[in-house]
Symmetry: C2
Subunit: 362 residues, 2 copies
């Protein structure tokens, strides 16, 4: 396996490739907050005021008021009891798993769960069984087979990063026994989905009671770091039981400052999510007109799997003709031979979206 | 367990606590590169030129030329075949473990190894045995007991973060069978120890042949991120086998830009390591005069364990009187009731060092 050629984004929604400026529908910077002037100013202010790094665990001498402020802002944004900040989205699930290791008899996992949930399953150390992707009936079948004494934990992505599918959380929670818990990797849903950006929890209108919501600050929020939205009780256990929480240098201070600003931007600028939804709705409608069968979803991720390499090449050519970067990728969970993955942002113009649709239409 | 009160560093080597400015001998920012003007300028330039974040895995659309540049700079600095950049120091060991999982029959681990090495041992999935802290004889005894077919991997910190002790790497490598490998967590040694900053590898004058050196950019380099110094073959395996490498959004771009600058500063400004050594030598000499028994070491970390809480309180009072922040911590590997951990930097003045010595002298 090789790492692909480097890319550099320009002007927020373009990328420069071989001297050509192409519309960029990749990455998961759904609102382009990674280049939002307010967020960038907060990052620069953070550098000037605080320096880069505390260089110590929060449990020794590395605690800083920015971490607490960011946690408070996130708990408020997501209407959760508390938020625990960790160094990135990937480790959120691992930190939770370390805090809960040994507590559950069975780990029930969507077969296409994110790699970090697979790592978490290993750490949780219960017996792991996978259910069919997005399939509550298969989950129900598996749960019916569990012994009466079983205490299961359910692991799934909220919005799956490889194709944008959204997990049927409401159905899952109806099936899950009352002593069970849902560990939700909501890296892509958080900030993006739901009227207030509450993620797949808000979209599915489920209560937080049985849910641990793990989010990242590197997608909708455009910054870096991860957070666990949970109860004070779990926070306490994380601090006392997760080696990864205790032994890791926390987020660089300018990023924490930028993330506080990004949370504010996503909270105040409702237009961002409205524009994203309008863009997603328009592209999905146009692609349906062009003959695509698409799920009825507000998911900004579009996965298009070509039937053969000839079709892949045709799409690539049409993209380049229409000045669209042909983001053909290989990624865990996606088709083995690779596929096109396009991501709509709130900042793409109607003209750019039209070029994408034209590239995908015969 | 509770997270301690937040701290904010000021003027590079001080911290403001309850309105008082105290000399700060904590954290592991050994050269204060987290506030070095060149490094900060590079971070700001990175924000303005690149934005915060690529929001995608390097294996899909998230690769960026800065990552390659930083890897090249690190490989050159450490004279290694290659460097693999990961999102922080903690996960370096986990990424290596995922790449090598199943390859080794036995994991031999220092009993006081860093939490991240304990996590790595779990992932490596061989039979784990711990040897006595820093003890080659105990290691030899354990190796003698292994079956002939054994293929061991040895896990140890280079410089231990809790008390600054340096592992006897040369002795370990003499004992380790030729089919064994040393996974070295050199988070604290890298950039700090050795004439050229090559870390405990350079200090012990051992060859890289059997060694995987894991480093962090959040200590001596003052930035963030981690790197694995290794062979091209291991790099290849990491990219194809480590879920954590594949599924993690890479380092924010301004930090990568800052880290490239920090590597340059540590490479060119030899005065930094010379000053650190002078400061360490002076403090250790003065503390010996004051009656302390200290190992003959160039380690900038000083761990002082009070015999009882009364003594702890006396030291705290003397520190405050001398305007020194009394960094009393609890941390894995250290004494259960807590201890003082002071860290010398190249940027502390002789006056500040004198105040530290005075605080620790009866």
């Amino acid at each position: 396996m090789k790492i692909p050629e480097p890319l550099q984004q320009v002007d927020r929604t373009y990328v420069r490739v071989n001297g050509r400026k192409l519309s960029y529908f990749a990455g998961c910077d759904y609102f382009r907050l990674a280049s939002h002037p307010k967020v960038l100013r907060a990052a620069v202010a953070g550098i000037n005021k605080f320096g880069l790094n505390v260089a110590a665990s929060r449990l020794t001498t590395g605690n800083h008021e920015l971490f607490g402020k960011l946690e408070t802002a996130l708990a408020k944004f997501f209407e959760a009891e508390t938020a625990v900040l960790v160094s990135n989205g990937y480790v959120t699930n691992l930190v939770v798993a370390q805090a809960l290791a040994g507590d559950f008899s069975h780990v029930l996992m969507d077969e296409k769960a994110h790699p970090s949930l697979k790592d978490a399953a290993q750490i949780l150390s219960g017996h792991t069984v996978t259910f069919r992707h997005l399939d509550p009936l298969d989950l129900k079948r598996l749960i019916a087979k569990l012994p009466k004494s079983a205490k299961p934990i359910l692991l799934t992505d909220g919005m799956f990063s490889h194709d944008g599918a959204i997990a049927p959380l409401q159905s899952y929670l109806k099936i899950l026994p009352k002593n069970g818990v849902l560990l939700l990797d909501d890296a892509h849903g958080a900030g993006t989905l739901g009227r207030a950006g509450g993620g797949t929890i808000e979209l599915a209108q489920i209560s937080r009671e049985l849910v641990i919501q793990c989010i990242t600050l590197s997608k909708a929020f455009g910054c870096y770091g991860g957070a666990i939205l949970c109860t004070n009780q779990l926070r306490e256990r994380i601090i006392s039981r997760s080696r990864m929480f205790v032994g890791n240098t926390p987020l660089p201070l300018p990023l924490a400052n930028a993330a506080i600003s990004a949370v504010g931007v996503l909270q105040k600028e409702n237009g961002l999510r409205r524009r994203l939804n309008e863009n997603v709705t328009w592209v999905r409608k146009e692609l349906r007109k062009a003959g695509y069968t698409l799920a009825d979803s507000q998911s900004p991720i579009l996965a298009i799997t070509p039937k053969a390499s000839a079709e892949a090449n045709r799409i690539k050519e049409r993209c380049l003709k229409n000045k669209v970067f042909p983001s053909f990728i290989k990624y865990p969970g996606g088709p083995e031979d690779g596929y096109f993955r396009f991501v709509i942002s709130s900042e793409h113009s109607r003209e750019q979206l039209g070029a994408l649709v034209a590239s995908l239409s015969a």
